[in-house]
């Protein structure tokens, strides 16, 4: 069913030719071509808004191009809906999961299929996919019990079970831990080795470089580079994506300054979201340092929330300042109220402590100061937060949390989902905050980011915490060493 990999010029699984797409006055894609070979992982790189997702939505039949043609296995096709794309053996895994949590793995796989639902048949399909790619899941498990990594896996299994030879993945690593990312790429490689074609939409250069065979780079809706990955380096990729020298300031570290201690934990035990007890933890958080926190999925959440005063410890004492900046992981749900205006989102900070009348003119002034100081591009301070791009939302949140000069700033995955420029801007702010003598504590699931930005790294294990130097290999080794003994995470 999968075409063998050929060396001829006809080894293209998916070809998009001269695709142009306009939304009103905006040209999202301008004469873009893309050629994905059988047996390869093709990285599609670009900043937010470069047109990566739009291009792949066209390849999956969700959008129709204004001009241009699509070929699958060298045959011209017309894709007027995702159903057409699935019939052409194209599958897409979106950035947002589209699973029904209350249903089993098998039922989710059967969704979108035809005819009657028979558990045995679906289970057989799933086993079949496992045999081909190593992607394995218990078909009877409930989706609500799965981790994000397993849900991601299920999305891919479902696509493959529907017969996809061409797999499009939109930012698949955003929600995964480093270990899970490694596993995902092993499985994608196994799929490609059997002749499948993978299109990987990503903005993580390292992932693309390490695992891609070919690369296409989009900038402002144009394809600015097509190449074999072996010809590429990080500076070359960055230059193509940004159209100029990388804007990210070079990693500058400082020896730990002596500003004293911002917060300390003594014999603290915590109950995490899953009810597991962690600790006891003893920890001093020094001022004037960026302390990176590395942990396996979910392990750091309770610690960061306890440090920022959002979680009461089960035992022990926490000595932390009363004023703490906190930037939670999930911007849209925890850091902002998308329906509220920027001014109202400013008023939200400390709303629990206020009494009497709100001084809206004071709030408006604060909001103005924040968007000026942090270069937030917004239609205005009365615009709802949902109208801002992800990078601007994050700068706005950071501005709000830093506005009153807290001695401690706690961040969770602060650059998740942001493009290269927005990430650099956040990193620069973190460094400036550190230089002003504030203690910056941030969790990241990206080891490269931890190694690049941290002055010191705290590795959180299931029972204890360890400090180490900001070195990718050292952190990775400690993390793997801290992995709880088997049986808790078999997949």
């Amino acid at each position: 069913m999968i075409r063998p990999t050929a060396d001829s010029a006809n080894d293209a699984a998916l070809e998009l030719h001269g695709i142009t797409k306009r939304f009103g006055a905006i040209t999202a894609l301008d004469n873009v071509s893309l050629r994905v070979r059988h047996g390869s992982i093709h990285a599609l790189l670009g900043e937010n808004g470069a047109g990566k997702t739009t291009l792949m939505r066209i390849a999956f039949g969700m959008l129709q191009p204004d001009s241009g043609s699509i070929r699958v296995n060298t045959q011209p096709v017309s894709l007027s809906s995702p159903a057409d794309a699935i019939a052409a053996r194209i599958g897409m895994v979106h950035q947002q999961f589209s699973l029904v949590p209350a249903m089993s793995v098998a039922e989710n796989v059967a969704l979108g299929g035809k005819g009657l639902y028979r558990y045995d048949e679906v289970a057989k399909q799933i086993a079949d996919v496992a045999r081909r790619t190593g992607l394995e899941l218990d078909p009877s498990a409930r989706v609500s019990d799965l981790t994000s990594a397993e849900r991601q896996k299920l999305e891919i299994i479902r696509t493959l079970a529907h017969g996809a030879d061409i797999l499009i993945l939109d930012e698949p690593t955003a929600v995964l831990t480093p270990q899970d990312i490694g596993e995902l790429f092993d499985q994608l490689r196994a799929f490609a080795d059997r002749g499948g074609a993978v299109v990987l939409i990503t903005h993580k250069l390292q992932d693309a470089l390490a695992h891609g065979d070919d690369v296409t780079i989009l900038r402002h809706g144009r394809a600015v580079a097509h190449a074999r990955m072996t010809e590429m380096t990080v500076p070359l990729l960055t230059a193509s994506m940004l159209g100029a020298a990388p804007v990210s300031s070079l990693s500058e570290k400082k020896p730990p300054g002596d500003f004293g201690i911002a917060a300390s934990l003594r014999g603290v035990t915590l109950r995490d979201r899953h009810g597991a007890i962690r600790g006891p933890i003893d920890l001093d958080v020094p001022r004037g340092q960026i302390l990176g926190v590395a942990a396996l999925e979910g392990a750091a959440g309770a610690l960061l929330r306890a440090l920022s005063g959002r979680l009461r410890p089960e035992a022990g004492s926490i000595d932390a300042p009363s004023l703490i900046g906190f930037v939670p992981e999930n911007r849209q749900e925890e850091a902002l109220i998308p329906d509220f205006s920027l001014t109202e989102n400013v008023a939200l900070k400390d709303a629990g402590r206020r009494t009497g009348l709100l001084d809206w003119s004071y709030m408006r002034d604060r909001a103005m100061n924040m968007i000026d100081a942090f270069d937030v591009h917004a239609p205005g301070i009365q615009a709802p937060a949902r109208d801002l791009s992800g990078g601007n939302q994050q700068r706005f949140v950071l501005a709000r949390e830093l506005h009153d000069g807290p001695p401690l700033l706690v961040l969770e995955n602060p650059t998740q989902g942001l493009d290269v420029n927005a990430t650099a801007a956040i990193h620069d702010r973190m460094r400036a905050t550190r230089d002003a003598g504030t203690s910056v504590v941030f969790y990241s699931s990206d080891l490269d980011e931890l190694a690049e930005v941290s002055d010191r790294v705290l590795v959180v294990g299931s029972t204890h915490v360890t400090f180490c130097e900001p070195d990718r290999e050292v952190i990775g080794g400690l993390l793997l060493g801290s992995r709880p003994p088997a049986s808790t995470h078999d997949s």
Partner: protein, 305 residues
């Protein structure tokens, strides 16, 4: 008095409990509390008002009506408090408990007007009528328009001001818009805020019942409310949960229902046509809310705990 004036004032009288109960629903929904029990809270409010007025008789003089309204608010808050307590203690969904408490309230009224509160002749299933001095004053002589309408309009303005300008009002809106952000950013005690919203919503619904007893019916009986508490949900939704908008939508529904009764009387057009019109309006309002992408207030994804 012209027939037109009578019709208009009757419509405003009809609108009065709809506006006050509509405010109860709007406040609850803005605060993320799905209080469907305005009907029950309204009935216990009416019951408490009637009972307090009849028990105190003429001893309180002019304060009698004030005491009656306060008693209705306390009773409504208490009735809502049962559902609020069940939610806080046992995680019982308020959408279920408040609906069930509506039926309890209906049967409570049925029992009381045939038992302890029945009028002395023991013929009619209703209470004695309340003394004239305990009634809400008429604001437009020669009509039935009573002070309750002014109270309703004032309550709407106060509630709008409260939500927009005060710290507790802002907390209510924040908790309603995003439970998790309210806690995570604002360190708002969301449980406490929900509890207060629930009680205040119940008090408003109770006030609607008190005003109806003190201004219109002057006695407690079964079917005192032709579903005011349910129509109030439509009133609140069509107003976009905006308190000042509730005045307009409440008056609109008042005209609709009063007009339907007149049509039935004069031209034998079924009054249920008004119910059909109301249902169409609700569906239209919901479609607009959904297609604008905001969803229904209070139906946003529940926090994952």
């Amino acid at each position: 008095m012209t027939a037109e004036l009578a019709f208009i004032t009757d419509a405003l009288v009809r609108a009065t409990p709809l506006i006050i109960a509509g405010l109860a629903v709007a406040l609850a929904f803005r605060g993320g509390v799905f209080n469907i029990g305005a009907e029950g809270q309204l009935l216990v409010g009416a019951t408490a008002s009637a009972a307090v007025t009849l028990v105190t008789g003429e001893t309180l003089g002019g304060f009698s009506v004030v005491v009656a309204l306060l008693a209705g608010m306390i009773a409504g808050a208490f009735w809502a408090g049962i559902a609020a307590g069940l939610k806080a203690r046992f995680h019982v969904l308020e959408i279920i408990s408040t609906i069930m408490l509506n039926f309890v309230a209906i049967h409570l009224v049925s029992y009381l007007v045939r038992g302890p509160l029945q009028e002395p002749t023991r013929i009619y299933p209703q209470t004695e009528t309340i003394p004239a001095m305990s009634r809400l004053p008429i604001v437009l002589p020669g009509t039935r328009l009573h002070l309750g309408f002014i109270i309703a309009a004032a309550a709407a303005c106060v509630l709008a001001w409260f939500l927009a300008q005060t710290a507790p009002g802002f907390r209510i809106r924040a908790v309603g818009a995003s439970f998790r952000a309210a806690w995570s950013v604002g360190l708002i005690n969301t449980g406490k805020t929900s509890m207060w919203v629930f009680l205040a919503s119940g008090a408003l619904a109770g006030l609607a019942g008190s005003v109806e007893v003190s201004g219109v019916t002057f006695a407690l009986y079964e079917n005192l409310s032709p579903g005011y508490g349910y129509t109030a949900i439509a009133v609140a939704l069509i107003a976009g949960l905006n308190p000042v908008g509730v005045i307009a939508s409440g008056v609109f529904f008042g005209f609709l229902e009063t007009g339907a009764i007149a049509l039935q009387r004069e031209f034998a057009i079924p009054a249920s046509l008004a119910s059909v019109a109301e249902a169409v309006l609700i569906l239209a309002a919901l479609s607009i809310a959904v297609t604008r992408g905001h969803g229904l207030p209070g139906t946003r994804r529940a926090p994952v705990q």
